[in-house]
Structures are given as structure tokens and as C-alpha cells.
């Protein structure tokens, strides 16, 4: 374990904290509908768009209207993306002449990109035409991220508004998220990536002569533009199968650092935006601190674990001082790989710069735990924010009772309806993960896909369902996921993990917005101090642990204890 590794981790956390505030202030301005420094350019565009689409931008929706708009929008997007993949051989911009994508994979992919999961049951460079990548996948990278941001904003309004029936206008929030937030940052980010050597071309592939003297086709394409939003929107779907481990996606340690920061930037900013919206920025910082606490613990464990190698590796003659370099890129090393793995799973991004499958048992369990914790450690854009607030509602409920008052969060009473909806939302993804894993683990179709026998194979299955239901999209690797069984099972998990959380979350927002806000007193428990931060982190860990301990026991824990015993 090297001191540079720890410094990298701490510097990274510090940089996220630095970005959070300006991002939060900007997001607040954008979604409060105030003027920003981009307004002179973008406001006319925004107005023109509303006129064209007929969106009544000055009328708000209640939660049902908001949810219905979101569901309809996602449905249409899924169908359009599916159609594009089925018809790509008839459409232009297909230099490699790929045929239509297999229907089950196309369906899985369409669901995957619309739900901001970006689980990839295919190899991008050998399956998708440039048109599919650009007009289909990249467009969804923007829209699914914007939808997540929209739900987060609506959720924050639930706390900020009092005695109101409406929580905002979905179409306006979508438009603003895309136009003011995702597009400008992505453009700058893509330019930076191009400057660092990431390709951006419509050509199909390059011919090169390798050291062996043989010719080789090297796939290129419009990578930089997809790469930027893949990170910023916590999508994670790479242009190449190797994802951010590929030098064309992530050429050097600097692009690696910027990519990791961009994964967290909007998620962290949204939390600060929430604090601003409810009129007490420290409320946002408290939530961010709880996220940071869990993140540091997980990342520390993962990094430490990757520096330890198993007795089997020692026997095979690996130098123990190198740590576990299997499946990692030399240009990133242990710490940047462990950190990337923690970031991408904590934030529901799913981009990878190393093979999680090759991590040590404990090192690989940390990304898995990050996902199983509910994707709330910063989390996916928007999803992480409303996800952690669902936990906050449960934490507040128990804490509120313990101080002898009807529990209230930011002056909003937490009553049976909110508890019911929060429990429902929190249950959705464990339901999908456990049932999916149980079916896969106990049937031949499920077991057919695994690469390694024993507990490690079980971890591969568990990780895949966790990744799907958590809308993460990263793969543990090892699992052959393009079978009929897995494409459909994962699609169901992805849908459950997305919409069975969003709909109750919006219902909570609607219910809270309608309530009056009680002023705080010393009798109300402060939710901006260390006690709340600790409690929230504790509740997240305990709920996750209680739900998944049996599954983890027969997977990574069994593997880890067996390694120690040997």
C-alpha cells in the first residue's frame, strides 16, 4: 500500500467537495428558472423548443402528471431505440456494415440505456453502427440522465414547497437539464478528451501493422462525444467493450481523474441544490457527508484489499509488493483502479477501467456492496439523490420516534403514507436482485452463463442482477449475458430498479409538497449535524446488510474466508 494511493483517494474526495458547491448553485439557478450566464445563448433556444413542441412551460404538474409524462417518455424512447437497432443495416453511417442487432439483445439494450443503466450485453465496436451509437445510445445517455435529474429536482421541490399540489413540469425540467447542464459540460469535456487523444471520427476502423508485422483493424469512431456524457450522465456504456480501460476511451491518468470527477459532479451538485432549495445549504452538505463517509470506508477497504494478494497468487510466483494487478491497466495502477471501481459503482455509472471480476474477493465485494447499498453513495445523476433521501426518510422516522415526536424531515411530517412509499421504493431493487439471482442460481439456463464455478460464479450472477436493478451497468465480468434468459431477466430487473423507485419517489414528493412546513425548534432533531450523518450512513449499511447478508455469505464472503483458510 503506497501513500500516493491514499493521497489520490483523499485528493479526489476533496475535489468532489470543491465542485459540489458551484455545481449546486448553478443547478439551483437552472431549475428555479432563474437567469444563468448561459441564458443569453440558451434561453431563445429553450423558448423555441417549447413553441415547437407545444410544451406549456409555465404550468406545473402534480406528481401523477409528472410520473405519467416520465413513463410515457421512457416508453417511447425505448421503442425508438429498439427500432433503430433493428433497422441499422438499412440506415446510413454503418461503415462496418453491421446487421440488425439480435432482438433480445436490442430489447435489453434499449431498456438498459433508457433506464440509465447502460448494461451492455454486446460489444459496441462489433455490434452497433455509428448511427446507433450516436443517434440512439448517446442520445439516450443524455435523456436518461436528464430524466433522473428531473425526478431529483421534483423530489427536492416536494420538501421545498408548502401546501402545494404541484411538483414542477417534467418537460421543462427535462429540457433545462439537457440544455443548460448536460450539453454544455459534455461539449467542453469532449473537447478535452479529444485533446488528450480520444478519437472522434466517423471512420470505421484504422489499419495498422503491429509489432508482429501483421495487419490489424483498430476500431475507432465518434468516441469522445459519447465518452463525455457516458461519465457525466453516470451512464457507463462504453463505445468499446473494454470501456474506460481502453486507451481510446481513457488514455492517461489525467483523463482518468477527470472522468471520475465528472461521474460524481452532478450527483454531488444535486445534493447541494437540495440544500439551497429547502433554504439551508447545510442540509445538503449533511447528506453529502453521509455519502462521503460511506464512500471513503468502501474505497479504503477496496484499495487495501487490492494490495493484498491471495496465497494462490503467491504460490504462482506473483511479487506480493505489486499487489493484485490482474485485470488492471498499468497506466492506472492499483489505487486509480480501486478508486475508479468504487466511484463507478457508488455512482451507478458502470463505466470500468479494470476488470472487477479479477479483484480480490473483498476488493470485488466493495463495488458490489456499493451497488447493493442502493446506489445512494452519490449515486446515479438524480437517482442517487432521491435514493438516499428515501433512506433519510426511514432514518428520520425511527430517529423522530426516539426523540418523542411525530417524525418530521425539514418540517414535513413523515407519516404512514411516506413510510409506505419509501419502503416500497427501497424494496424494489432488493426484490429484483434477490429473486433474479435465486432464479439464475438455481436453474440451468442461469448457471449456463457463468465462467467460474463455486462462490465466485455466484458472485458473477449476484453482481449482474445488482448492476441491472441498481441501474449501474458495470459488469463483474465472467458472465455470458446475451442469452435469452439473462437479456430478459436483466431487462426486468432494470425496469424494476428504475420505475418502481421513481414512481413512489414522485408520490412522496407530491405528498410532501402538499404538507405545511413546521418550523424547527430545539425539540426537532437537527438533520444537518454529525449525528444525522452517522445515523443515515448506519441505516443504509444496516438495511443493505440485513437484506443481502445470506447472498453475500455464499458468494464473496465464502470465497474470502476460503482464501484465508487456505
Amino acid at each position: 500500500m503506497k501513500i500516493e494511493g491514499w493521497i489520490l483517494i483523499l485528493v479526489f474526495v476533496g475535489l468532489v467537495a470543491l465542485i459540489a458547491r458551484p455545481m449546486g448553485l448553478y443547478l439551483t439557478a437552472v431549475f428555479d428558472g432563474r437567469r444563468t450566464w448561459l441564458s443569453p445563448v440558451l434561453a431563445p433556444l429553450e423558448r423555441g423548443f417549447y413553441r415547437l413542441s407545444g410544451v406549456k412551460h409555465d404550468s406545473d404538474q402534480d406528481w401523477k402528471g409528472y410520473a405519467a409524462s416520465l413513463v410515457m417518455f421512457s416508453l417511447v424512447a425505448t421503442l425508438a431505440l429498439f427500432a433503430l437497432m433493428q433497422l441499422q443495416h438499412l440506415l446510413p453511417l454503418n461503415p462496418q456494415g453491421f446487421g440488425p442487432v439480435a432482438p433480445n439483445v436490442a430489447m435489453n439494450t434499449a431498456v438498459s440505456f433508457v433506464t440509465n443503466t447502460n448494461w451492455q450485453a454486446y460489444s459496441g465496436e462489433s455490434t452497433m453502427s455509428h448511427l446507433t451509437q450516436m443517434a440512439g445510445l448517446t442520445v439516450q445517455n443524455f435523456l436518461s440522465a436528464a430524466a433522473g435529474i428531473a425526478v431529483a429536482v421534483a423530489f427536492a421541490r416536494g420538501f421545498a414547497r408548502r401546501g402545494a399540489g404541484q411538483i414542477g413540469n417534467f418537460w421543462v425540467d427535462m429540457t433545462r437539464a439537457t440544455l443548460y447542464v448536460l450539453l454544455p459540460i459534455s461539449i467542453l469535456f469532449a473537447i478535452y478528451l479529444m485533446a488528450s487523444g480520444v478519437p472522434q471520427t466517423l471512420a470505421g476502423s484504422l489499419q495498422a501493422t503491429t509489432l508482429e508485422g501483421l495487419p490489424q483493424d483498430i476500431a475507432v469512431g465518434p468516441v469522445a462525444s459519447q465518452e463525455a456524457i457516458k461519465m457525466l450522465g453516470t451512464n457507463g456504456g462504453g463505445f468499446f467493450n473494454a470501456n474506460s480501460a481502453h486507451p481510446f476511451e481513457n488514455p492517461d491518468p489525467w483523463t482518468n481523474l477527470v472522468q471520475m470527477l465528472s461521474i460524481f459532479s452532478i450527483g454531488a451538485g444535486l445534493v447541494i441544490m437540495f440544500g439551497r432549495m429547502v433554504g439551508d445549504e447545510r442540509q445538503g452538505w449533511a447528506i453529502l457527508a453521509a455519502m462521503g463517509l460511506l464512500f471513503l470506508i468502501g474505497t479504503g477497504i477496496a484499495y487495501w484489499s487490492e494490495t493484498q494478494i491471495t496465497p494462490a497468487m503467491v504460490a504462482a510466483g506473483v511479487d506480493p509488493s505489486l499487489g493484485n494487478m490482474e485485470g488492471k491497466e498499468i497506466r492506472f495502477g492499483l489505487s486509480a483502479s480501486a478508486l475508479f471501481a468504487a466511484v463507478t459503482t457508488a455512482a451507478s455509472c458502470g463505466a470500468v477501467n479494470a476488470m472487477h471480476d479479477s479483484f480480490t474477493a473483498i476488493g470485488g465485494m466493495v463495488p458490489l456492496l456499493n451497488i447493493l447499498a442502493g446506489e445512494v453513495i452519490v449515486g446515479g445523476v438524480g437517482a442517487g439523490f432521491y435514493g438516499i433521501l428515501l433512506f433519510a426518510i426511514l432514518a428520520i422516522f425511527i430517529a423522530g420516534l426516539m426523540v418523542g415526536r411525530t417524525p418530521a424531515y425539514l418540517g414535513k411530517k413523515i407519516e404512514a403514507r411516506e413510510v409506505k412509499l419509501a419502503v416500497l421504493a427501497i424494496l424494489a431493487s432488493p426484490l429484483a436482485i434477490l429473486i433474479g439471482t435465486a432464479i439464475a442460481a438455481s436453474t440451468d439456463v442461469g448457471r449456463a452463463g457463468i465462467l467460474n464455478p463455486g462462490p465466485h460464479g455466484f458472485s458473477e450472477i449476484l453482481y449482474s442482477f445488482a448492476s441491472a436493478a441498481g441501474n449501474n451497468g458495470s459488469a463483474f465480468g465472467g458472465l455470458t449475458a446475451n442469452t435469452d434468459f439473462y437479456t430478459y431477466a436483466h431487462a426486468i430487473a432494470m425496469l424494476a430498479g428504475r420505475f418502481l423507485v421513481i414512481i413512489p419517489a414522485l408520490a412522496i414528493a407530491g405528498s410532501l409538497a402538499a404538507k405545511p412546513t413546521a418550523p424547527a425548534s430545539v425539540g426537532t432533531f437537527p438533520t444537518n449535524g454529525p449525528l444525522f450523518i452517522g445515523l443515515l450512513a448506519f441505516v443504509i449499511v444496516v438495511v443493505g446488510a440485513l437484506t443481502f447478508l445470506p447472498a453475500l455469505a455464499v458468494g464473496p464472503v465464502a470465497e474470502a474466508t476460503a482464501n484465508t483458510l487456505n
Binding site: L394, F397, I398, A399, G400, L401, M402, V403, G404, R405, T406, P407, G411, E415, A416, E418, V419, K420, V423, L424, L427, P430, L434, I435, T437, A438, I439, A441, S442, R447, P455, F458, P516, T517, A518, P519, S521, V522, G523, T524, F525, G529, L531, V542, V543, A545, L546, T547, F548, L549, P550, A551, A553, V554, V557, A558, T561, A562, T564, L565
Partner: protein, 681 residues
């Protein structure tokens, strides 16, 4: 009722509860408590497995039998807890029933009292006559006469109270006894609907409905149980992946160990005990909802008189006019007050006695002038001196009218104004033509109120004093009593407006009142405590009735409400925190045959080799025993003190959260030592 406190663990109640607990195990009753219902189903399921193993000679029979026994015992402990909580109420209800049983009534028809009929025949609006020695047959309002009434059957207070027509003391309660005189009562509630009936239903817990927070907590517990259904139901599939199987008994055990049986088993006992605590404070709540609301109160409206101040003004100082000795003034004031039986008069006598040791004197030739509203003075003519005391203006006018008048010093005026500014009442004293000085009468703030209000402030509750006094006087008393705010020159409609204003700002308001004109405000307040001595209208409007008619009791009511919620929250936290240890006990035992390496996470070092079920049995025994161990806590409530919410939470998290994590590790280990030592599994 409170005159004979029944112990928490009265043997008779325990015996009854133990028997009643079996009846409560009936699934048709138990399904209302999903967690316990699930436990009972699991017990039955394991029982079937036990019988099967017994008949087929399966080797797990002994283990299954023990698990079935402990699961059933878990359910019984829970129903027993409820029975104990109800027991005390049942005993109280029985004595109340006796008071109600043989009530007869004599109707008044055309001004004539009729022959006695059963009280159950009465209708609302009818008039009945009650004379000394008779029991009042129905709740009603005195419309004629005055009587002393013994209300000890309801309040436990043996001193009789006065009930009279008109005014704020007109309500009478069925089952109380008239001790003197005769009253005519207009019936306001028929049998089955009277205060006594409501009280019986309340203390018995028959009318107990789940409170909003209880419902919300129930949802959370059901949700948790659902998570555990999934976590446990998927285990066979995980085991099948490794080509093995786990025992059904072990799975059922794991499930029961994980679902929140501790809080699920004690939840209703906590609620009943909370109501019971109120009843022991002689406060009746019409619903559990009101008790919960009491815990949420942000603002307390308190009437000045009787709540904050003693209600009578007391002399606190003699302020002599220039050139007058204080002793001379005290002497005159005492003389003038000797025959004055008002509290003010008595306090002047006492003050003079305390300050200058003046006492009994010969007053044979004295002629006393009683106070009258016209003269606004009282006094005495003795030994050729005319002594008067009274309102400053009146005394000054009296002095000026005399031939021997001496010019009143402006100092006296100043002193009088100063007393007025400080919230007191100045009383001038004159001998013959000379004003001797001022007696400072003061509204005396009750002892200890200031500390109570400071306590409330620490809890985040604001106190507002309501008074008819002018703002100056009100401000002085408010400052002295330490209330946060006051409403001076208050009319009943001002009270209502204030409550509405606070509620509009999102605050919860509590108040108490007794008069008919308090009824709208009582109804509007989130917690309205009506005095038992009050009018029927007030009693109807409030959601609590204080049998002792002690307005300061609001503070107790608030703390009982808080304690109720805290007990629920703390035991929930404890219950959930326990699960961590139970997982660590059961998971290695469950999978040990498939993954022997998992004994590595058996941090307790339980005896859980293949075929050794000691760890599972120990976890289940711990799970069962923790319920009776916590019954006293559930019934008494967790310790509560006035402190900011943050401090309370830190304390309760440390005790019930961290304690809940650690306790089962120790408990299960100890039980395991016994279980494996004795060789039970």
C-alpha cells in the same frame, strides 16, 4: 382511581394475563399483528415438521420440537405483555362498573319528582332530581340548585366539590354522589355513552384504535418483514447453486429471528401502557391520537390565573409615605385588615406579623367597615382613629374629604405607579386625614413554575400566558414566571385566533380550559385539556379531561406523549440492531455443510459444526426471552428527561442502537454455552 395504585406486576394481574395470553394466541385475533401472526405460522410449520420427523424417525425431531416450542413461547410472551398492560386497566374498569351498576333516577315532570326508574331509561334532555345521599344517574348539567358532590369514584379525590347551576361548575358525572342539598340535572348523555362508560372503555383498552404513528411504524415493520421474507426465501436457491440444501427448520428459525418480533410483540403493550400512565395521572384522553399529539406540541397556552399564579394577590411590601415609619404603616394596615377574610386581607395581616411581629390585639371597641364596590375601601374605626385601606384613588378622595386632610405626598403617587408597572396592585392606607403609604399586592407566581417553563423551553416548547390583565401587568408577570410570550387583555375569541395563527405557521398547540367560552379554542387546539370541574361544553370540546382540574398537568401530558413515542422508537431500533448478531449466529450454522470456511465469520465462536444446531436454537431462545425481559421497559416507558432532541437521540441511539448491536452477541453466546453444555442441540 389513583388512590390505590396497582403495582406494575401485581400477582393477580400476572395470573390473569398469563391465562388471557393463551386466548389472545387465537390466529383470528392475532392476524392484526402481522409480525406475531407470522411467528405463530412459523411455529405451526415447525410443529408439523416435528411431528413428521417424530413419525418417520427423522433425526432432527428433537431440534424441531425445541424450535417449535420456543417460537410458540415467543408468541405467548407477546400476548402476555399485552395482557399485563391491559390488566391494570381491567381492574380499574371493574371498580368503575360497580359505580355504574345500580343507578336509578327520579325524573322531574311538571316540576314534580317522579318515582325512581332505571337510569338506562333516561333520554337526553330530560330533567332528574338528585338529593343528598343519592347517586347522580347520568351525565348532565345542573340547571337548578347548588350541591356538594363526592366525585371520588371518578377522580379518586375524596374532598367533595361544589356543583351549581350556571357558570363553569355545572357539569355532573354519572356515578358520583350528592352529599348535601338538592339539584335538578338536565341529562346530556344516556347510559352507554356517559363519561363513566367512556372511561371504562378507555381503561380497558376496548376502544383502542391504532394511532397515526403506530400505523406508520406498523408499515415499516411489515416492510422489514417483507425484506426478510425475500432474504430467507431465496436461500434455498442459493444453496441449490452449491448443490446442497438447508434445513427447513433452520430457515424458519432464521426468518423469525430476523423479523422484528421484539417490537412487534411489545407494540400494543407500549400503547396500552401509555394510556394507562395518563390515567394514573388522572387525565383521560379520548383517543391515543391525542396522546401522541401531546408529544408533538410546540406551543402551550396557559391561563395566568390558577396555572401560573396562585390566583390570589398577596401583600409583599409596605411602602411608607415620606415621614411615616414603615412600622406605623404596617400597624394601620394590619388593623384595617383584621376582619378582612379575603386572601388579600389575610396576607396583609401575615406580612405585618412576619415583618414586625405584630399579632393579636384588643378590638372590643372597634367598628369594622367591610369592603364595598361603591367605596372601594374597607377599614376600621377604633380608639378614635379612622383607618381606611383600598384603591389609591378612593383612599385619596376619602382623605381629601376630611377636615383634617394632609396634602398627599407625590412620593405616594410615584410609589403606587411603580407598583402598578411591576404588575402589582397598590393599596393605599390612611389613618384619619393622612395617607400613610402603600401596600404592594402582588400576583404571586406559583413556586417551581419558572423551572417547569425552563424545562419546556429545553424541549423546544414555547409557553404563552393568557390573561385578562393589561399589557403592563401581564408583561411583568410573564417576565417573573419565565413564559416566552403573553396575550394580554385576552377575550375568548383572541385565544381562538392565536391558536389558528400558530397552527397556520405549522405549530401544534395545546391548551386547557374549563368555561363554556373556552370550548371553541379547546376544539381548535391540537391538544385540548378540559377540566373535570368545567362545563359539559368544555368537556366535550377537549380531547382530554383532567380529573384533578390542575392546569399545570399539561406538562405531564406532553411528557407522557413523548415517552410513548420514544419507547416505540427505541425498541424498534433495538429490535433491528439485534438482527446483525442473529445473522452472525445463524448464517455460518446454515451454510456450514456447504461452505465450511464460513465458520470464519462466526465471531461468537458458537458451537455450530455440521449437525450441531446449538447456534440456531440459542438465537431463537434469545429472540424469545428478550420479549419478557423488555416488558417492564415497555410498560414503564424509556427514561425521559427534558433535553434538546439532538441530545435525546444521541442518548437513545447509544443505549438502544449500540446496545442493541452488542447485547445479543453476549446473550446468544451465554445461551449457547448453556444449550451446548446441557446438550439440547
Amino acid at each position: 382511581m389513583s388512590n390505590k395504585p396497582i403495582s406494575l406486576f401485581d400477582p393477580a394481574i400476572m395470573r390473569q394475563a398469563a391465562i388471557a395470553a393463551f386466548a389472545k394466541m387465537n390466529p383470528l385475533q392475532l392476524w392484526r399483528n402481522p409480525v406475531m401472526f407470522a411467528t405463530e405460522l412459523a411455529a405451526l410449520y415447525v410443529l408439523v415438521l416435528f411431528v413428521r420427523d417424530l413419525l418417520t424417525g427423522g433425526e432432527g425431531a428433537a431440534f424441531a420440537g425445541q424450535i417449535a416450542f420456543w417460537l410458540a413461547l415467543t408468541v405467548w410472551f407477546a400476548t402476555f405483555a399485552e395482557g399485563v398492560a391491559e390488566g391494570r386497566g381491567k381492574a380499574q374498569a371493574a371498580s368503575l362498573r360497580r359505580a355504574r351498576s345500580e343507578l336509578t333516577a327520579r325524573r322531574i315532570v311538571d316540576g314534580q319528582a317522579q318515582a325512581p326508574v332505571a337510569a338506562s331509561d333516561l333520554a337526553v334532555g330530560e330533567l332528574v332530581e338528585v338529593v343528598a345521599g343519592e347517586l347522580i344517574p347520568a351525565d348532565g348539567e345542573v340547571v337548578e340548585g347548588v350541591a356538594t358532590v363526592d366525585e371520588s369514584a371518578i377522580t379518586g379525590e375524596s374532598a367533595p366539590v361544589i356543583r351549581e347551576a350556571g357558570g363553569d361548575r355545572s357539569a355532573v358525572t354519572a356515578g358520583t354522589r350528592v352529599l348535601s342539598d338538592r339539584i335538578a340535572v338536565k341529562v346530556t348523555a344516556t347510559q352507554g355513552d356517559t363519561f363513566l362508560d367512556r372511561m371504562i372503555a378507555l381503561v380497558e383498552g376496548a376502544s383502542r384504535r391504532k394511532t397515526p404513528n403506530e400505523i406508520a411504524l406498523g408499515v415499516l415493520l411489515a416492510g422489514l418483514s417483507l425484506i426478510f421474507v425475500m432474504a430467507v426465501a431465496t436461500i434455498p436457491a442459493f444453496a441449490a447453486y452449491s448443490g446442497g440444501a438447508v434445513s427447513a427448520v433452520a430457515l424458519a428459525s432464521l426468518f423469525i429471528a430476523l423479523i422484528p418480533t421484539t417490537i412487534g410483540g411489545l407494540l400494543s403493550a407500549i400503547g396500552i401502557a401509555g394510556m394507562d400512565r395518563l390515567v394514573r395521572f388522572n387525565v383521560l384522553a379520548t383517543s391515543g391520537r391525542a396522546v401522541e399529539a401531546a408529544g408533538d406540541v410546540d406551543v402551550l397556552l396557559l391561563d395566568k390565573t390558577g396555572t401560573i399564579t396562585l390566583g390570589d394577590r398577596q401583600a409583599v411590601a409596605f411602602i411608607p409615605a415620606p415621614g411615616v415609619d414603615e412600622r406605623e404603616l404596617a400597624d394601620a394596615a394590619q388593623l384595617a385588615s383584621l376582619s378582612d377574610e379575603t386572601p388579600e386581607g389575610r396576607s396583609i395581616v401575615v406580612l405585618a406579623k412576619e415583618r414586625f411581629a405584630m399579632r393579636g390585639r384588643d378590638m372590643t371597641n372597634a367598628r369594622f367597615m367591610p369592603f364595598s364596590a361603591q367605596t372601594r375601601m374597607s377599614g376600621v374605626d377604633a380608639d378614635g382613629a379612622t383607618i381606611r385601606k383600598g384603591a389609591v384613588d378612593a383612599v385619596v378622595a376619602h382623605v381629601r374629604s376630611r377636615p383634617d386632610a394632609v396634602e398627599v405626598s407625590p412620593e405616594v403617587r410615584k410609589a403606587a405607579d411603580k407598583v402598578g408597572r411591576e404588575g402589582g396592585t397598590p393599596l393605599a392606607v390612611a389613618r384619619n386625614g393622612r395617607v400613610l403609604g402603600i401596600v404592594h399586592l402582588k400576583d404571586v407566581v406559583k413556586g417551581g413554575v419558572k423551572e417547569r417553563f425552563a424545562e419546556l423551553r429545553r424541549m423546544g416548547i414555547r409557553t404563552v400566558m393568557i390573561t385578562g390583565d393589561n399589557p403592563l401587568t401581564a408583561a411583568a408577570i410573564a417576565a417573573e414566571a419565565g413564559v416566552d410570550d403573553f396575550l394580554a387583555e385576552a377575550k375568548p375569541e383572541d385565544k381562538l385566533a392565536l391558536i389558528r395563527k400558530e397552527q397556520a405557521a405549522g405549530r401544534m398547540v395545546a391548551m386547557c380550559g374549563d368555561g363554556t367560552n373556552d370550548a371553541p379554542a379547546l376544539a381548535q387546539a391540537d391538544v385540548g385539556v378540559a377540566m373535570q370541574t368545567g362545563t359539559p361544553a368544555a368537556r366535550e370540546a377537549g380531547n382530554m379531561v383532567d380529573l384533578d382540574s390542575d392546569p399545570t398537568k399539561l406538562i405531564e401530558v406532553v411528557s407522557i406523549g413523548k415517552q410513548l413515542l420514544m419507547t416505540r422508537g427505541s425498541l424498534t431500533t433495538f429490535s433491528i440492531a439485534n438482527d446483525v448478531a442473529k445473522y452472525f449466529a445463524i448464517i455460518p450454522a446454515l451454510f456450514v455443510a456447504l461452505y465450511p470456511s464460513l465458520t470464519g465469520i462466526d465471531v461468537m465462536g458458537l458451537s455450530s459444526g455440521p449437525g450441531d444446531n446449538s447456534a440456531i436454537l440459542s438465537a431463537i431462545i434469545f429472540n424469545a426471552l428478550v420479549i419478557p425481559a423488555l416488558i417492564p421497559l415497555a410498560l414503564r416507558g424509556v427514561k425521559w428527561r427534558a433535553a434538546p432532541a439532538g441530545k435525546l437521540l444521541a442518548r437513545n441511539l447509544a443505549i438502544y442502537g449500540v446496545g442493541g448491536l452488542i447485547a445479543p452477541f453476549i446473550g446468544i453466546k451465554l445461551i449457547d454455552l448453556v444449550v451446548s453444555g446441557v446438550g439440547l442441540a
